[in-house]
Subunit: 439 residues, 4 copies
Amino acid sequence: MSAGEEFFAGIPRIPYFPSAGPGVVLCFKQYNAEEVLMGRTMEDWLRFSVCYWHSFCGTGADPFGFQTLHRPWSEGTPMEAAKRRLIAAFEFFTKLGVKYYTFHDRDMAPEGSSLQESNRNLDEITDMALQLQNQTGVKVLWVTCNLFAHLRYMNGAATNPDCHVLAYAGAQVKKGLDIAKKLGAENFVFWGGREGFHSIHNTVVAAELKHMANFFKMAVRYKEHIGLKCQFLIEPKPKEPCKHQYDYDAMSVIGFLKHYGLESHFKLNIEPNHTTLAGHSYEHDVVMASAFGMLGSVDANTGSPDLGWDTDQFPMDIRNTTLVMKTIIEQGGLQPGGLNFDAKVRRESTDLEDLFIAHIGAMDTFARGLRNAVRIIEDGIITGMVKERYSSFSQGLGQKVEDGSATLEEMEAFIKQNGEPRVTSGKQEKYESIFNHYI
Amino acid sequence: MSAGEEFFAGIPRIPYFPSAGPGVVLCFKQYNAEEVLMGRTMEDWLRFSVCYWHSFCGTGADPFGFQTLHRPWSEGTPMEAAKRRLIAAFEFFTKLGVKYYTFHDRDMAPEGSSLQESNRNLDEITDMALQLQNQTGVKVLWVTCNLFAHLRYMNGAATNPDCHVLAYAGAQVKKGLDIAKKLGAENFVFWGGREGFHSIHNTVVAAELKHMANFFKMAVRYKEHIGLKCQFLIEPKPKEPCKHQYDYDAMSVIGFLKHYGLESHFKLNIEPNHTTLAGHSYEHDVVMASAFGMLGSVDANTGSPDLGWDTDQFPMDIRNTTLVMKTIIEQGGLQPGGLNFDAKVRRESTDLEDLFIAHIGAMDTFARGLRNAVRIIEDGIITGMVKERYSSFSQGLGQKVEDGSATLEEMEAFIKQNGEPRVTSGKQEKYESIFNHYI
Amino acid sequence: MSAGEEFFAGIPRIPYFPSAGPGVVLCFKQYNAEEVLMGRTMEDWLRFSVCYWHSFCGTGADPFGFQTLHRPWSEGTPMEAAKRRLIAAFEFFTKLGVKYYTFHDRDMAPEGSSLQESNRNLDEITDMALQLQNQTGVKVLWVTCNLFAHLRYMNGAATNPDCHVLAYAGAQVKKGLDIAKKLGAENFVFWGGREGFHSIHNTVVAAELKHMANFFKMAVRYKEHIGLKCQFLIEPKPKEPCKHQYDYDAMSVIGFLKHYGLESHFKLNIEPNHTTLAGHSYEHDVVMASAFGMLGSVDANTGSPDLGWDTDQFPMDIRNTTLVMKTIIEQGGLQPGGLNFDAKVRRESTDLEDLFIAHIGAMDTFARGLRNAVRIIEDGIITGMVKERYSSFSQGLGQKVEDGSATLEEMEAFIKQNGEPRVTSGKQEKYESIFNHYI
Amino acid sequence: MSAGEEFFAGIPRIPYFPSAGPGVVLCFKQYNAEEVLMGRTMEDWLRFSVCYWHSFCGTGADPFGFQTLHRPWSEGTPMEAAKRRLIAAFEFFTKLGVKYYTFHDRDMAPEGSSLQESNRNLDEITDMALQLQNQTGVKVLWVTCNLFAHLRYMNGAATNPDCHVLAYAGAQVKKGLDIAKKLGAENFVFWGGREGFHSIHNTVVAAELKHMANFFKMAVRYKEHIGLKCQFLIEPKPKEPCKHQYDYDAMSVIGFLKHYGLESHFKLNIEPNHTTLAGHSYEHDVVMASAFGMLGSVDANTGSPDLGWDTDQFPMDIRNTTLVMKTIIEQGGLQPGGLNFDAKVRRESTDLEDLFIAHIGAMDTFARGLRNAVRIIEDGIITGMVKERYSSFSQGLGQKVEDGSATLEEMEAFIKQNGEPRVTSGKQEKYESIFNHYI
């Protein structure tokens, strides 16, 4: 660890400077970590996390173009680069003032020529990571295993038609869980990018789903065996790289988990860019997962509604972050999950400072969303209108519907007695106008 | 019943005439009801059904245009028209040679000024329907209640924020179940067109979902109470008329049913045009529902992939019908469900004969799909390739994964011993070429 | 004209009350008509217009539901209702403080049983409209002919395969132009909702396009003949009601106009909900039309990015309105066009006041967008960054590219001398962060 | 050139074997090169071409996964690999029996460390290509320059905000045109993958469009200067890699060309996968380009309607190929353009034989489409129905509309005399049923 090396020279610890002008972008204007809102600090509500893959491993290559991002920490042999990358990352975390990070096993340490070598690489680098965590207080929000990039996973990992590949994925997850324990990760994520299909002609869906369920059960048993306390999370995505992925969206995963009796062992890590790819509105899966008690964490990013692939942009829309934060506050926070920036600077954003500007812009956008949501909830105007709207369910027949004791016969009797219901405006535009007041 | 009136004069019972030329469209060239394939008649495999709403109530109005379809059976008072419509419908069923039909309560008899009057209207018309069923042997594939068109349902039926409206829906479903029993319906469908929301601002998702679940539980109890034997079906649709509907797609409904312990009482009625609106491929929800043992019936129609609303076109793509029929054969058929043409002639198809031409074209397309699927299955070439592809799960470690007894420790040991798996081509283009051979 | 009748009793002239609280929705908090920004009043920059069809003719019916909006002005015979509707509309315009309105011929006066009767109806009602215009100072932003709702237009108007229908459309447009002149309309719009196709099988695209072009040429000649001075506008829409419409988006219309030599006679009326249906971002067609010097007017509304049909919602997103207003300011304003609210209250928004709330909310959203855009332009930070970005084109080789005199040989020589260009960050996240500062 | 080396050992010249069974995939069952249909050989109608980039340079890497396709010809230094690749390619062309190929400059020869070195590489490899062309009779359908993959083009080539980059693109195109002349290419393609934007905030659309137009003008002048006779083609694509590309779809390009007076120098190369990404149906841009006399060539591939990115799959849908071939026949063929397979084997299709299977499957799909289209046209049933549908334009008022001499006054007089037009069914389902007869 070359203690003296600085990768982001000239960039200080990012300050909170609310009155800075429009052109000043290397300070927070909204995010004030220690400020208390509704009894909790902004840091606690937001639990920001930086992701390792996009921010420290990203090259800027896309399907039509070569590398554009040439990072100073990527020099040397793979293991040398891994170490320099780690130092750069912790410099970034601490200068940005973020307390969590996330990574895939293969982001942090290079894959070797055998499982054993890969594991040794991982051991060496995570020893160093642990030391840096202890020095800085930065913690792991979650770990995940990369079960999609290597050639061997091209036809799937847990759903591969060849059990040999499934075994490889299992061996890799075993090591991932060991690492999670070692580094004190608060969550462990499964993202099934190759768990799905490209062609229905060569695929037996029912068999693959069963294999995936049994794979998850093995992971649950091993987690319990080693006494790992973290939360398991599944991250839905509808498609890309597969034509169809089984973890399509929040409801697909909930259905799957409940079908296989796995629902008490997993929650969801919702990525809004995946939600919009599934044809839903930005906040939809956050809201649905929360309604089912299954919202565990959020991959804070965005796509463009007019694009059909995962662009993993930094979230910059205040309307979206307000809706997400309102849902999070209403469920009492995200802990042990957090807001992980699964976002990458554009491949054209080639300056090192762009990495800071992007994170700061997104953190401020979420901080502003938090401030808005707090004002909405504390004012109580919208909440009051909604409460009044559903008030018929707190008494009489409504209460019986609520507690499940009503019958169709009672419904019919009620209508024969009371006739046609009153027409009540939904007042959508009024809600929208009031919401606009806060943003 | 004016026995002598004929609405489709000049159109005979549609014959099977396989060698007819391209311009001859009032005969079947593929559908031969009594022909036996894989031990069952085509009629039994396909279980075609005509829908009442599009074919006998449709006006051709669209959001930008007025009525284009002026039907001879729609004259007179609402009740007179209802009776003429019923006679026209049975003339159509029998000339077309289809044994099933489907309807909403309000298609068949007009809504009155009170629940009681609506119910009396329904009693009177269904008496007549029962008589026609007995005369012709045509049966009810399924009944459903229209809980979306009336003003009272604008904010939802089972998920309305006003319990008074929910009660009205309950009363209507009670009558619908009585009618289902009276007419010997083989299924009963719930389509929640207004069960969802337009604005998240005024909506409490968790409360609405619970109300919907309790509503379904009341229906199950009443069904059991009256000894109604039919299958309950939920029909998913992602959106339209709502911005978001809770019964989004197959997996959403499966998740909902399992969450509320309703899965043993319901199966799914899959409409491919709804599937494609949800962003899936045509056959997707048929395949997924079948994989979960939940495929109950199919609303045989199609949309255009480039359009974002429900066009309910007659299914004319042989590739699609081949994939659907292959899935149906593999699960042993659809009974007591069927293939219901939830499809409408275009509003520009104003000739009465177009109603026949459209149904015949679609029936031939499904018959051709059935013939193709049977050849694919009987030849066994694709099936054999698929079986070989998954063969590693029938022994050793694969078998332990299959039966759920494998562990991550065994996975790791296996890889330490056996190393990297072999690369195996997915052969998608080969499957596609062979599939093309059959269509 | 029953002078004493008031339709919106209890609603006063909407005041500007910038400090009103979140729950107060019957006042403007952003729109201050007389306030001057960049040398022009807000009223002049925004040129708001109310549309007749949604706001005064809308019933709330949708493809799955009946009428929900029962308006007090819709009573009586069609001609009586037309008169009451007109009085209600002018009460609305004046209370809202909007100076323009727009209408289709058939919105304002009912279609008769012959062209002659329809024309007489139109004469009678527009006489009354002219009187109300003179009394109130409210003017016509644009007129258009409804060439899509009547049965006769089901297969198209100017592109109908039957010339008899095209003739009817021509006769109707002739009258529409006469009415435009009589009422002093500042623009005349063509929206080709049925100019396209549902099935490529029965369509000759080249013939239909030529007929449409010749139809437009007739309109141009007649306009010149009667000395009508207004701007002609074409409104693009990609689909709905047709599967494909020829006026797909801004570039399609520009291509069409240039191909047929019509570009000097027409500009575009851009509706952002149509733009997003075409797969573009909200502001895209406004920006493109402006870049080609063809932006004539804007139908100010919005859709939901997750829906595939035209929802015509009131625009409530400040980000969108800021981008649109920035483009409008940069081209020097929209006159003689304007911002017409081609938007409808949701069918669930059944209170009369919802009509005011919706318009006020949207006007405030555009006013806020205008204020933001003015600050962006006046601060000059973004403008300066952009100017710097393109600075290489103001001298040397760049200037030769700019003026069209450069050659490939010079390009090669330049590279042989200067080698590889410098890598320059696009700084997207920096732009986004600065933009967020203003909204 | 190691004459003895064979890359596709064991695969013979692909024979035409129409009666082969479903499992036999290394023969043509539909494509019979010399067979004459409508006075022309199948080879002449179809003008198949193999693309170099996907089939010989593709690695199988995707945004989530590493290389899967390890080709025997990719060994050695870049220049050695380039030579082996060329030999492999010509072995493939001749065994497959395809007479054309297409390539980007950088596919064929590696980019050097300077323009001069890149040009020398290109000279050396194209010398060898010319020799192989002469030996085999295989020809170049089109050449194009890769102006998108190199880091320097990340912000665009002809639309780059830095004129230095535009100059580099110009130098590269100059060389590309020289190569086109040397190899006798029949067309030259421009695909503007980076000509567009990611963020409207940092982009001046009008300036970029003008630069692009001036860039094209330079190419036209240089082409004329060197006496190059080939057809220039622009290939539209709506997005990917950019958020928005200026060459969005056929109509966008037509509008652009006409605006800048370039329409006589360019035609379009339509790629159906790009068409569907633009929200159109598969055949749409082929039909539109042809209607405007601008269809020059087709990149024969397909996407999946449920995916939002360019999958470049081999076209396997007979319905689609029938519609495309019908349009091509109706315009008298594609020459000097052709059907270029801009398609790649799936990254999971790792066997070398998959490259043959995929091309054969697609060629048979197009051959079947050709056979279907010929039968449709020769039978004349659909054509006759269409002709009858538009017959009103061949006389009287219709003829005046057709020739542009009609007036609105005549239209009105005609309607006053003749009244309401007759309602005529569009008969969409009848057309669809008849079309199905042929496929």
